[in-house]
Amino acid sequence: MTNVLTLEKIVKTFPHHRRVFTAVDDVSLSIKEGTVYGLVGESGSGKSTLARCAMQLMRPTSGRAIFEGHDLGKLGPKALRTIRSRMGIVLQNPVASLNPRMTIGASVAEPLLAHTALKGQALQTRINNLLDEVGLGAGHAHRLPHQLSGGQCQRVGIARALATSPRLLILDEPTSALDVSVQAQILNLLQDLQQQKGLTYLLISHDLDVVRYLSDEVAVMKTGKIVESGPAERIFTDPQHDYTRRLLEAAPGRGRPELADSHALPTLTTQGSD
């Protein structure tokens, strides 16, 4: 099985006042074709930054991102734009990820216009097919984002991401802004699409349940490093690293806090890391 995406020793730093802030600290990973790779961590862990470095939306300070055998850092702007048709992204806030002044149809058409020669009726047919695939009727094509619900907008986001038949889909907190029942619909959709089309996903989320549900492989990130990684089931049933254990314990829904917990002063992180 080939690796669709390989990240080698990615480091990303930002200048911060007079010092340097390291968002991603020497991270390496590989994603095999047709699998779902989950990146889990809290805010400040660097998972979103890592995803953006993987897509070259940010240039890593050092390290390489290799997609389908191409070193993304070495590609010129035009070649990079072309390769982007092989990647899709779905963002966290569904309504905000769509241009408020463009109709749904136009938003889905945009990548097609940029990367394919489709026009006129052929283009319209493709748009309608995509909208159907994500469970939205083609009748929605002329509507504006604010007229749709969060769940519907996210379906549009997924349709747009799939428009150019990409190999890799990057999902950045795809259901965090959605209600429980809508989240279930979207997760079902994402799973169906992945299995039907043999897509590869890079899933970023702070929600452990969502990650566990979708992922084959999982990596846990903390302050820019991967502290633990491996098959999803193993990570969740037999976590090795202390931080992973703490994350799992803190996840909501595990039951009442222990009495012992409540009388100890909780440990506080210092400012800025929340």
Binding site: V36, E42, S43, S149, G150, G151, D179, V180, S181, V182, Q183, A184, Q185, L187, N188, Q191, H206, L208, D209, V210, R212, Y213, L214, S215, D216, A232, E233, R246, L247, E249, A250, A251, P252, G253, R254, G255, R256, P257, D261, S262, H263, L265, P266, L268, T269, T270, Q271, G272, S273, D274
Partner: protein, 316 residues
């Protein structure tokens, strides 16, 4: 048993130039006892936040409330300022504080409005509260500006601010949504500890079933402006009686892996609640019968402190 909060037949209506446009809260009854944490859970648009605001006596413009809200023994007056016995903690601690004033200054303002107290005593009182909520080095926090503190610390400060009002009822509206899981957990532990210590009642509003389960004693599930199920939290979570509650719990990915499809509730919440007849959930319910579109089910007791609003209750 004293109720710190008692709501009967609460309706919230929105009007636009005299014309009724929506009724997002349609007859809610609920009680919170002293020292108890009641969870108000529901998805977007169910009316939970509005219920919380109505309990404070502050509603957005154009909204009108009918029904009774009683805090302790006093019926609620409508005013622009919430009554002294109730305090609220909002979702986003980062934006709840004014960025140009120190926390100490903002907390002093709240204290001054609430109690006649000298400045020196006031500062000592605030420092005491800041340490009560688990903030290390409260002197430093007192002098700090909001942007110098993390989200978790700000949320603790908000809780301290609420406690300064010596409330009988504390309302928390999505208190942990903007926080990381580990920090969120600490906040919930803190709330639990504080209500035991001070004996106030807590109304915890959230869309997250997990945190409701973790910290609440009882839960009320809201759908389309009504309470459709209520009871002790373990009973409702382990044995939900209303089809919507079942659907909600079934839709959670917790503990499931791919290969198992999630049971998403089909359809969407009805948009126009004014023209609704019968049960609001019937279009999405797999157990609906003809009667469900004619009769609006009332909340009926099914056990000690447990109630469900469903015509099919008992058959399921």
């Amino acid at each position: 048993m004293t109720h710190v909060l008692s709501i009967r037949d609460l309706n919230v209506e929105f009007t636009d130039r005299g014309k009724l446009t929506n009724r997002p809260v349609r007859g809610i009854d609920l009680d919170v006892s002293a020292g108890e944490i009641l969870g108000l859970v529901g998805e977007t648009g169910c009316g939970k936040s509005l219920t919380g605001l109505a309990a404070l006596g502050i509603l957005p413009r154009g909204a009108r409330r009918t029904g009774q809200v009683t805090i302790g023994n006093d019926p609620l007056q409508d005013s622009s300022e919430p009554g002294g016995s109730v305090a609220i903690v909002f979702q986003n601690p980062g934006t709840a504080f004014n960025p140009v004033f120190t926390l100490g200054r903002q907390l002093s303002d709240v204290l001054a409005r609430h109690r006649q107290i000298s400045r020196a005593e006031g500062k000592a009182e605030i420092i005491r509260h800041l340490s009560l909520v688990g903030l290390p080095d409260p002197e430093r926090v007192y002098r700090s500006y909001p942007h110098q503190l993390s989200g978790g610390m700000l949320q603790r400060a908000m809780i301290a601010m609420a406690l300064l009002r010596q409330p009988r009822l504390l309302i928390l509206d999505e208190p942990t949504t903007a926080l990381d899981v580990t920090v969120a957990r600490q906040i919930l532990v803190l709330i639990d500890e504080l209500r035991h210590k001070f004996g106030f009642g807590v109304l915890l509003i959230s869309h997250n079933l997990g945190i409701i389960r973790d910290v609440c004693d009882r839960v009320a599930v809201l759908y389309a402006g009504r309470v459709i199920e209520t009871g002790p939290v373990e009973a409702v979570m382990n044995n939900p009686r209303h089809p919507y509650t079942r659907g909600l719990l079934d839709a959670l990915p917790a503990g499931r892996t791919h290969g198992q499809r999630l049971n998403a509730i089909s359809g969407t919440v009805p948009g126009n609640l004014l023209s609704l007849t019968g049960c609001a959930f019937r279009n999405r319910c797999s157990h609906a019968v003809t009667d469900c579109s004619l009769t609006d089910p009332l909340l009926t007791e099914t056990g000690p402190h447990q109630a469900v609003a469903c015509l099919q209750e008992g058959e399921l």
